[in-house]
Amino acid sequence: MMPPLMASLRSSISGIRMMSQTSVALAHHSRLKPEKITCMKSDESPVFYRDHVVDKLVRVILKDGKKEIARNAVYDALEIIKRRQYKQWAKAKEDEKSTIELNPFVVANTAIRNCRPLMKLQGVTRGAVTYQVPFPIEESEAEFRAMKMMREVCRQKAKHGETHLKDILATELLAASKNEGLTIQAKQELHKTCEANRAFAHYRG
């Protein structure tokens, strides 16, 4: 039975392979590769409300490098989602209360998951004709495309009616979490086009 101090020294000397599984999961990625130590990005600080989908949405909405504006817009949208759900929850009857999702992070995650396309269209040129060919898509790219579709929809909406991004984004996220709204429509149209162009799939190579 080794004394605890010697055991910890042993583990730090022999490196990563001695670390327990939980400490690997909780450690920052720069600590897992000690040969390449990088500085932490501003949106990776270990706050309790860190969420992968929300942070990625902030990066997608980002314009001209104005991170504070993008971050405030997304967090204000989350607040608006929470307020609207809270008002509904307060009015609802006891048995309906458990069906209303109050957590805005869960709503945002559900919304982006629902908007994820299953395929993407990529142009393939064969003999001076560019065909829109359906390709398979990675999960991270699907997530990005979902967020990009939502961003374009929000920017279109900003041209008429609701002017603040936080309000538009909140409406879109709430609708998408229920499989409604313009972003879901855009995804379904993309799926339809992919289905229509399935004959070009053998151009994938």
Binding site: V47, F48, Y49, Y86, K87, W89, N103, F105
Partner: protein, 363 residues
Amino acid sequence: MALLPKSSVKTLFSATKTLTAIRPYNKAASDDPSQLARADLGKLYHIPVDAAKNLNFNKILPSKYAKQLNTLDECAILCRPQFLEVLHCFQAVRPTFPGIRVVLWGRFGTGKTLTLAQAVHYAYTQNWVILNVRDVMDWTRVVKDVQMSTYRTGRIDLPEHSVNFLNHFKQQNQHLWKTILTDLKTTKDYVWTKTEKTPIDKPLTDIVDMGLASPFLANDCVGALCRELRLHASSGALKLLVAMDAGNSLYGRTVIRKADRTFATTDELSLVQQFRKFFRDDWTNGLVLTIADKREISDAHIDPFIPIETQLYTEAEAKALHDYYKDKQWLVTDEARSEAGLKQLYYLAAFNPHHFERLCAFN
């Protein structure tokens, strides 16, 4: 002295422990602000929602807190030291003292405007007449319509702002409209124009109604109202609270342009001159509560006054608010509701009340 048997002492002790465990958040002993004392520091008390509506809290509270009022359908405010100091100043007001001047000052987000709103509610419960200016910076920085004064040459009237003020005054003093404000009469003839006049011995409500009916007279009516209220307060017929948010703007700068395209000074605005008179020693039985707003560059001459500083949260105050949010189900994520989350909230918000509320808003 008969000692209680050990068994009953034990049950008493465990009963109080379970009671404090059951009680969801730190509630003050009473919701009546006049009953608040040092024992209630760090505890929450409720302002009834209908009182908040009558006092137009939607307009005078900071916008984020007003939203909270609407969402939670409740007005729960922490009892903090600055409010108890303001209460002591209220209790010092009497017909033998000139108007007591209190200035709330402090860092951004520490509760200056909220304390002013609490003071307005206290005055409402004690049947004081409330003269509440929502934001003096509205008068100096938001240019609506401008009119040259007929009462004094060179002065500038602000008709729309005056009408808004008179509406706000009427709304906040509805509970006294048919009683004090109708019983008290004008002390002199007011000749507004060749055709309009309010004779002597008419109820004060006539001045307000005249201003609301004719916007071009509204500014003069505000001046007359202020004068009458000062006279009646000095005679002991009413107690007056003058609550001004950003009161230091009375000595600041304006963006109102005169005919020759230069900026007007605050000395040239009639509304400003009318409210500056409350900082004189020639009237009694009133409290003038202002906020020194950091947004304004000013050189205010209102000595002597009582400065009250608004501070950042203590750990106990922040915890009380955290418990309240948990109880109302406003904090939804598990991390935010945990003790570790609370510790993070302390430092992420840097104990600043505004930032604490903003962080709890989306978690």
